[in-house]
Each structure stands twice: as structure tokens, then as C-alpha cells.
């Protein structure tokens, strides 16, 4: 059932993934990089994310294509009793159910944690929902943007009072997926982890990574520091150079390094400026310092300046767009991007010396292309398949001959 060899951490693990969008598929993609077999259960019309684009890859939205590489696809409509019946049979032979049911949806489908345990007592079932599995917002519809805007992260981009700006990356989805991955791995790592319900959410994940802000805003002694004041700062775009922008951090180890650096770029005037007299004074005045440094930085190329800063024991990196970062030699050194039949694929964010982690370069499946094969492997008989197909509960037998997306 799986092509992985015994070396991987999750070899032999069978994961049923009923999620759509970003969070769940990101989680199951990473489970696959660790050796798990992932069976994607999607409605007959497919994961809605498949239609998010352009760009499209073989008719599938580019993001959905990358997130669903290496998975098998079974088309089943879980909003029908027959669909739920099929899922129940698949669960007998599975180790993990990843889903996006809130408590109320699980109840309406007869798939609550206790009910799942009667089907398979060792099953780990993990939900990853937008708002969380319970509470007044649990069943509200939401996408990445609604979760970001509920979490408050948007407040630290753009200009106060002007149209809001969201984080361009899909952070709610990816971090929600990360928390689901953590929950499943922690259950698998535990002596007592099997046979239980786990719950994670995109909003919970975004709140989690905002914990430093939550603590800082909790009635501090004084309203000092960048965490408390960040909402009212102007947009932070680093410092302009002759040919781009850099993000600069002052020397950390010695005051002399700062003096030498200012002299080197011809900024002696800053050394006489009382607002920047010590590192402790420059720290909270960073926005101001950036503005004052800019006329000097504009005289040098980004490359030249980065070299000067690093030599002065400061930190400086160019503000790069996607093209620049993907082609930076640092990414090549890390093997962060691989080739898969002429298409680029991102590697997972961890590396080891044991070959436990293998980037998935197989293509994404077409909708339901593995339905008949998977159901047969799980013990469905040809007669049953024919009957399910005739009632429309699963695609016809010819569906898997229409080819995948390769």
C-alpha cells in the first residue's frame, strides 16, 4: 500500500484525510513526507481549493496541487448517509482520521469520538477547524482571511485608520496544519496516545503564535516597548539602498563596532545625535534610526552594504521577493527546493541524517482516481462497488481510467 521503506517514522501508518483547503492538507502532506500513506477523501466535485487559481497545474489550483502531492484520492460525499457508511468501513483499517468536523457536525453525521471508537478503538481522530470545534463561532463559515482578521495579526501591517492589510502568506492555514501535525505526532509518540480524539484550529494556532503580544498587552507596568506600540508604528519597509532595500540590525557586541560602522558609511553625524547615543537608546528608536540611516544607505548597493554590516557585527539581509529568495545560494545549500518532473517542490522544514524525511515529488491525484482501488484494498467487493457507483455514492469504475493529473 505504500512505497516507503521500513526506515521512515510513519511507514505503515494509514491516514484518512477528509479535510479541504490548506490546514488539513498541509498536515497530511507532512505526514506523507514521514512515510505515511495518505488517502484523501474529497467530495465528488473535489476539494474546493482545487478551483482556487489561476495559476493551475493540470487543471488543479497550484496550491492544491502542491499540498496534495503523493496522496491517493477517493471521491465520497460525506453529506450523504452512504458516504458516511463508506467512511466507517475505511476507518476499520486506518490509524488516523484527519477531519474538519466541529462537534456539532460530527454529531449530525454520527461520527462523534465515542462513536468512532466503537468502529476502531485504536483510531486517533484529529480535527482541524477554522475557529475551533466548539463555542459560538465554531460553525461559522471562514477562510484564511477571516481567521487572520479575527486573530488581530492584521493590526501590525499597514497604517492605522487606512484600509487593513492581511498577511500575504496563508499563516492561519499553515499554522493550523502544524498544530494538527503536532497533535498527531505527540499521540503517536506517547505510550497512551492511541484511541483518542484530538482537536486543533487555525484561530487557536494564530492566537498561539501571538502569545508574546497577548502577554505584552495584559496591563503592563508601562506602555513601553515595540510589542505594545507596534500597532501605531508606520509600515516597516527596512532601509532603502542604491538598488533595493535591506533589513538592518545594529551591532550587538560592542559600541565601538557601531562607531566604526557609522564612520565607514560616512554617517559620523549620527554619532553626535543624542537620540542615538547608546545602544539602549537606539533600540526603542529603531523606526527613527532607519529614517536617519537611509540617506547614507542609499549611497551603497545592497550587496556592498550587507557585506559592510556583517563585517561590523551587525545583521543585514536584503528584502527579497519570491524570485530572489528561491534563487539564493543559501536555499540550494539546504536543498529547500527540489525538482519533480520539471516542476519545483518545496522540501519540508526539517532535516535529519537518517533519511526519515523525504520530500514528496509524486504528482497530486485527480479527483477520486483511486476510489475503486482503495475501496477494493479495504475489502469492498466488486458487486458492492458496482452498486455504490450506480447510486452515485462513488464515481463509476471508468473514473480511475481517466487518468490522474500527470
Amino acid at each position: 500500500m505504500t512505497e516507503s521503506t521500513p526506515g521512515q517514522a510513519l511507514t505503515d501508518l494509514v491516514v484518512l484525510d477528509c479535510t479541504q483547503g490548506i490546514a488539513g492538507p498541509y498536515c497530511s502532506l507532512q505526514l506523507a513526507t514521514l512515510g505515511a500513506t495518505v488517502i484523501k477523501l474529497e467530495p465528488p466535485t473535489g476539494d474546493w481549493m482545487r478551483r482556487a487559481g489561476p495559476p493551475f497545474v493540470d487543471g488543479v489550483g497550484a496550491a492544491a496541487y502542491q499540498l496534495n502531492r503523493g496522496k491517493r484520492s477517493v471521491a465520497v460525499d460525506l453529506d450523504t448517509p452512504q458516504g458516511v457508511q463508506i467512511l466507517r468501513r475505511l476507518l476499520r483499517g486506518s490509524d488516523v482520521l484527519l477531519h474538519d468536523m466541529t462537534e456539532s457536525v460530527a454529531e449530525s453525521r454520527g461520527l462523534t469520538p465515542p462513536q468512532l471508537r466503537t468502529i476502531n478503538p485504536r483510531l486517533i481522530d484529529c480535527s482541524v477547524t477554522p475557529f475551533g470545534e466548539t463555542g459560538p463561532w465554531a460553525d461559522l463559515p471562514a477562510t484564511e482571511s477571516e481567521i487572520q482578521f479575527t486573530s488581530g495579526t492584521w493590526r501590525y501591517l499597514g497604517v492605522l485608520g487606512e484600509p487593513p492589510v492581511r498577511v500575504g502568506a496563508d499563516v492561519a492555514g499553515i499554522l493550523g496544519g502544524c498544530t494538527a501535525l503536532q497533535a498527531i505526532l505527540a499521540a503517536l509518540a506517547s505510550e497512551h496516545g492511541l484511541g483518542q480524539h484530538l482537536a486543533t484550529s487555525e484561530l487557536g494556532a494564530l492566537m498561539g503564535v501571538s502569545t508574546v503580544m497577548v502577554a505584552a498587552l495584559d496591563d503592563p507596568d508601562t506602555w513601553d516597548g515595540f510589542h505594545t506600540n507596534a500597532a501605531t508604528y508606520p509600515p516597516d519597509r527596512g532601509i532603502r539602498t542604491a538598488d533595493g532595500r535591506i533589513y538592518y540590525g545594529q551591532p550587538l557586541r560592542s559600541e565601538q563596532a557601531w562607531v566604526d560602522f557609522c564612520r565607514e558609511i560616512g554617517a559620523e553625524a549620527l554619532l553626535r545625535d543624542p537620540r542615538f547615543a547608546t545602544r539602549e537608546m537606539r533600540m526603542p528608536n529603531q523606526a527613527l534610526l532607519r529614517r536617519e540611516l537611509e540617506p547614507y544607505f542609499e549611497r551603497f548597493s545592497t550587496e556592498d552594504l550587507v557585506e559592510k554590516v556583517v563585517r561590523s557585527d551587525g545583521i543585514a539581509v536584503p528584502i527579497q521577493d519570491q524570485h530572489e529568495v528561491i534563487h539564493h545560494p543559501q536555499l540550494a545549500a539546504l536543498g529547500a527546493v527540489r525538482d519533480a518532473d520539471g516542476m519545483s517542490v518545496q522540501s519540508p522544514p526539517w532535516r535529519d541524517g537518517d533519511d526519515q524525511i523525504r520530500p514528496i515529488t509524486a504528482p497530486a491525484p485527480g479527483i477520486g482516481v483511486d476510489t475503486h482501488d482503495v475501496l477494493t484494498e479495504f475489502g469492498f467487493l466488486p458487486d458492492e462497488l458496482g452498486q455504490l457507483a450506480s447510486t452515485g455514492a462513488i464515481p463509476g469504475a471508468e473514473a480511475h481510467h481517466q487518468g490522474g493529473t500527470t
Partner: protein
């Protein structure tokens, strides 16, 4: 702190906690040699999962302690990353203290570190130094740009990670210049999440192989992974994405709209059904006319026309009107909220435990984010924040060391 003289033979392995957590990792021993935020918050999460975490604080103090603000005189950022750990102050350059750290490392299940590449090797606390004595050790390192390659030696902070990785290039007003997400430390804490994943996958692998391993992640790799959906777009087109304000590249409508009361709502209709529901519910002649754009493809092609019609209709009513009405019809619509409006007072945040209060070590309490997972049978819980060195004496006593 002065050197402590003791007989190594009398060192008593791991000074276990008297009570264990109930989480899935109950009893697991974690040595946390990290500083700043990435490592400390990852270790905090391990403590929530039930692990027995010992954090080594340097005698000069974790540099993150300089970050303001403070509550009851203690820096909130430091406190929020210490929950549930026991802190011991050790000077790793002092031979006596060093020996204690090595003893802890030899008896740990997991070691976390985020020093610059090579630092722990020089201190004799690298993976190569420990793996023979402790073959089961899951040793996890987090660096800035990765432990190899031309930038291996460079450090970074959260905004530098955003700038270098392309993360910042996706943020900004529509058609405007890229900007950095200010001081949430989201990329740093996302790195914590990947460091935690590394620990957990190492533990799962160890159950299978019986051996530990050295796992590595970095701020750069975590920041790249946060952009996987956006790089997918770039890999297909070869064109670097630009900021799109509150909107998205792939779905129309999806944006923030200003309401009659000057509050903003976010509305997204990713499916044909939700689009139809939106047009019917908005109920204006302009929006009814939009029903002809019955696929996302068609809507992407008429982005401006759709935006204008939705915008003018949304502007006629207050935010509460729309957040009551639209979700009931299956349309994603939420009011824009902020962390400084005390989300913990909302029923939803409370019932999911997203924000919780923990006892402040100097009195009163401190609001922090709650655990990011629920476990039905192995429940997790937040520990309490700690002051540096709070457990030094207790841990040394347990190890049989007299000062």
C-alpha cells in the same frame, strides 16, 4: 555564580519532577538550552504536552529579558516563554556547572538548542559528544538560516527572517511596497512550531528504531514553509507575487470592506454556492446583477466590478448587521478584531481556551495563549511562568550537589 565543587560520581542523573503532567509526553525529560523566543516557546509547548522540562538560564540572563514591557517588574515576553519549566542557572563555561549540564544531557530524552552553528560543539554539548553516552537522545537544533551554506554563521531576528525569506514581500497595501509584520514575532514562533514538530517526529522515529537522532530546522525553512501555497503560485508562473492589501490572488470576492459604522468586515465567497448566497443576501440591484459571474474564474476576471458593487452595499449598514446576517446564509463574514480589545472576554475565545490566565510569579496573573491542541485522554495544560533560576537550588539538591 561561582564554581561548585562536587564529586561527579555523586551526580544523581535526572532530577525528576515529583508530579507528572497528564499530557501525551508525561515523564519525558527535556533539556532546554535555548534562549530568546524560538527555542524557549518550543520547550514551553513540550511542557504543556506533559514533558519534564529543565531550562538552563545563563548567569547574565537571557537577552530576551531586555524586551519590554514588564508586568510587576518582570518582562512579559520572557515570562510567556517559560511556562511549565524548571529553571536552573548554569554558567556553561564554568567546569563545575558544565559537568552538571553534561550530566543532564546524558540523561535527557530530548535536547533543544538554538545557538549559532558550532557553539555547543565547542562546549562539548554537541550531538557527537552525547550520542555514545545517550544513544536515545533526540537532539534538535534551530538556527537562523540553516547550519550549512553561505549564511550558516549569520544570526537573525524575526523581521530579518521575514525580509530574507520572501514572507515580507507578500505583505502590503494593494499595489504598494512590501512591509514587515511588526513585532508579533510570528515567524519566530512559527519556527518554534517547526522545532516542536522536529522533536515529535524524532520521538516517533525513536519508538520505531530505538535510536535517537539529530534533527535540524531553521527560521528560514520555517518561513519558507509558511509560504508553501504562495510559492506554489510562483513555481507555476515564474512571477514573484506582489502585496494585495486585504485581498487574495486566487479568490474573488475575498477582502475587507468598510461598513456604515467605520468598522471593517472580512468577506470571502470561495464556492459558487456561497457566492450566490452573498449576492442574494446583499440584496441590492448592483449585487443581484453580479449573479451572472457564476464561477470563481469569471469572478477573478471581473474583480473590480465585483469589489465596487459589494463595497457600496456593505457601506450602507453597520458591521454587526453583516456579521449577523451573512454567516447564517453560509457566507464567511467576520468583523476585524484586535488583541488589545481583550478577546479573552468573548465566549468563543474562553470556551476554546485560546487565551488563559496563569499566575504571575510575583503576584496577580498574566494573560497568555492557551494550548494549541486538545487531547481527549491525555489532557494538556499550561504550566506557570517562572523567574530565572527559580529551581536552581531544588535541582542541585536533587542531584546531590551541595553549594
Amino acid at each position: 555564580m561561582t564554581a561548585r565543587s562536587h564529586d561527579p560520581a555523586r551526580l544523581q542523573a535526572w532530577p525528576a519532577r515529583s508530579t507528572h503532567g497528564t499530557g501525551p509526553l508525561a515523564g519525558l525529560r527535556v533539556l532546554d538550552l535555548t534562549a530568546y523566543a524560538v527555542g524557549p516557546w518550543a520547550a514551553c509547548n513540550l511542557a504543556q504536552l506533559g514533558a519534564d522540562v529543565i531550562h538552563v538560564d545563563p548567569p547574565y540572563g537571557d537577552p530576551i529579558r531586555a524586551v519590554l514591557p514588564r508586568k510587576h517588574g518582570e518582562p512579559t515576553t520572557y515570562l510567556s516563554c517559560t511556562l511549565g519549566k524548571r529553571s536552573i542557572v548554569l554558567n556553561l563555561k564554568d567546569p563545575g556547572d558544565h559537568e552538571i549540564a553534561v550530566e543532564l544531557a546524558k540523561n535527557a530524552d530530548v535536547l533543544l538548542e538554538n545557538s549559532r552553528a558550532g557553539t555547543l560543539d565547542r562546549l562539548g554539548l554537541g550531538y557527537a559528544d552525547l550520542k555514545d553516552d545517550n544513544p536515545g537522545l533526540v537532539y534538535c537544533s534551530s538556527s537562523s538560516f540553516g547550519d550549512t551554506g553561505p549564511l550558516a554563521a549569520m544570526g537573525s531576528t524575526d523581521p530579518q527572517g521575514q525580509a530574507f525569506s520572501g514572507f515580507a514581500s507578500l505583505n502590503g497595501s494593494n499595489g504598494g511596497e512590501p512591509e514587515v509584520l511588526r513585532y508579533v514575532a510570528l515567524v519566530d514562533l512559527a519556527t518554534s512550531m517547526q522545532l516542536l514538530n522536529a522533536v515529535l517526529l524524532g520521538l516517533v522515529a525513536r519508538r520505531r528504531t530505538g535510536r535517537g537522532t539529530h534533527l535540524r530546522t531553521s527560521q528560514l525553512e520555517a518561513a519558507l514553509s509558511l509560504q508553501i501555497t504562495r510559492f506554489a503560485e510562483y513555481f507555476s508562473t515564474g512571477v514573484a507575487a506582489q502585496p494585495t492589501g486585504s485581498g487574495t490572488y486566487a479568490v474573488v470576492p475575498s477582502r475587507a470592506y468598510k461598513c456604515a459604522d467605520n468598522a471593517w468586515v472580512s468577506i470571502t465567497a470561495p464556492t459558487d454556492a456561497s457566492w450566490e448566497a452573498l449576492c442574494r443576501t446583499l440584496g441590492s440591484p448592483e449585487t443581484a446583477a453580479l449573479l451572472v459571474y457564476s464561477s470563481n474564474q469569471a469572478r477573478l476576471e471581473h474583480r473590480e466590478e465585483i469589489d465596487k458593487a459589494v463595497e457600496s452595499t456593505i457601506a450602507t449598514r453597520p458591521a454587526a448587521w453583516w456579521t449577523q446576517l451573512l454567516p447564517r446564509q453560509g457566507v464567511a463574514c467576520t468583523r476585524l478584531r484586535t488583541l488589545d480589545e481583550k478577546p479573552e472576554h468573548h465566549d468563543h475565545i474562553r470556551s476554546n481556551g485560546f487565551i488563559q490566565r496563569v499566575p504571575h510569579p510575583l503576584g496577580g496573573d498574566l494573560a497568555v495563549a492557551g494550548p494549541v491542541w486538545r487531547f481527549e485522554r491525555t489532557p494538556v495544560a499550561l504550566g506557570d511562568p517562572e523567574l530565572p533560576g527559580n529551581h536552581t537550588r531544588e535541582l542541585l539538591n536533587q542531584m546531590g550537589i551541595e553549594r
